[in-house]
């Protein structure tokens, strides 16, 4: 398996654990700051990543969502499913970058 495919597998496996409970959202600074749109919170980011891999999603909106994340790890602590949200987002940036280091 190539590095990029391995990275994809790692990220996807983790984000698919999301059950949409929303317990991550109340601590997210970026969700709160402007529109309150789920797009700019951890639950939205995690599920957009899953959508990107599984059925496709508008890349512009996806990037807006992913690159506004502070990677401050507040959400990671809240997730009852133990999803490493901040790390998945960081890894996904790596993926979007064409897998600098894993290609």
């Amino acid at each position: 398996m190539s590095g990029l495919a391995e990275l994809r597998r790692e990220i996807l496996r983790d984000v698919l654990k999301c059950s949409y409970c929303a317990m991550c959202e109340w601590v997210c600074p970026t969700l709160d700051v402007e529109s309150n749109n789920r797009l700019y919170g951890p639950r939205g980011r995690v599920n957009l990543i899953a959508s990107y891999f599984r059925e496709g999603v508008d890349i512009g909106i996806l990037k807006e969502s992913i690159y506004t994340c502070l990677v401050c790890m507040a959400c990671t602590r809240q997730c009852p499913a133990g999803i490493d949200i901040a790390e998945d987002i960081r890894k996904f940036r790596l993926f979007l970058d064409g897998g600098n280091g894993v290609g």
Partner: protein
Amino acid sequence: MEVMELVNRYINNSNLIIEIIRRNIMKRGYPIYIPNKALYGWIDEDFPRDGEYFFYTGLMYQMAPYIERIVNMLQKLRSGVLFKVINILNRVVDVSRFSSKPSHEEVMKMHKIIRNIYSLVYRSGLSVWYDPSIDKYAGVLLYEFGLMDDLKIYAERISDALSSMGVNKIVTIDPHTTYMFKKVFPSLLENYSIEAYSYLELIDEDIFVGSSAEQNKFVIHDPCYYARGVGVFSEPRKLLDRIGVEYIEPKFNRVDTYCCGGPVESLSPLFSAKIGVKRLGMLVDTGADEVITMCPICMANFRRVSKEVNIIDLSELISKYIK
């Protein structure tokens, strides 16, 4: 909505910003241009050239005043074409040189913070030494942008340089550098054996006189990468308690701290500022007169959004009480 549109424009330019920063770090050893005097000008005495703990500044405090300037410059580059020109230009010259310079006072303030921290560890009885040639930026932005290939090469360079000078223990002074050495490098590099400690973990409480003379009310803001990253949050409180400084806990504290907004500054400055305003609001709402930070990024972001509130570094406060 206006902010999101700006964010959008920035995201579209983000690859270029990332490329400029990447190239700078890999070629020049820092993400943005900073004159040598600003990086190492804080050294004003003869530091020991050998010892047990290497004093590793990671250059974050030195860079903080410059970040705002470069961000402002990038913000003005609205046209994508101009951006591309800049990017090509950057391959030959470091374009971040062309941004305006921070004031002398700002640079000096940061230098004083570093010297204070050095005094704190030195007075705590640690055998600490310094050599500017191996005190490098730790690659924080490469990590945050997910540029792992570059980071690995870069981290190997840092680690090899340290090893070649016989360094196996370091004292770090900001949360981001601390996180790189404690969490990122060990999982990235084979044969990595450097033990890293935040200075907050190493200070001996007995070096302080235990009678605070502070009139102002303080509120404490934990940086994400100390509190959640490496679990450092009780240490600063113990020191303040020991000195007798009264401080207020804000909404969202310790491991549950709330980000200052700093990390997205280079990609979307306006978005970052909005978060800074929100967090600073929570801190000021406690009724405090001054905000205690422990991270140059937090400090810079709060200062950027408010000139009225007094933002200080923990080391400035506690070093006043060294016996």
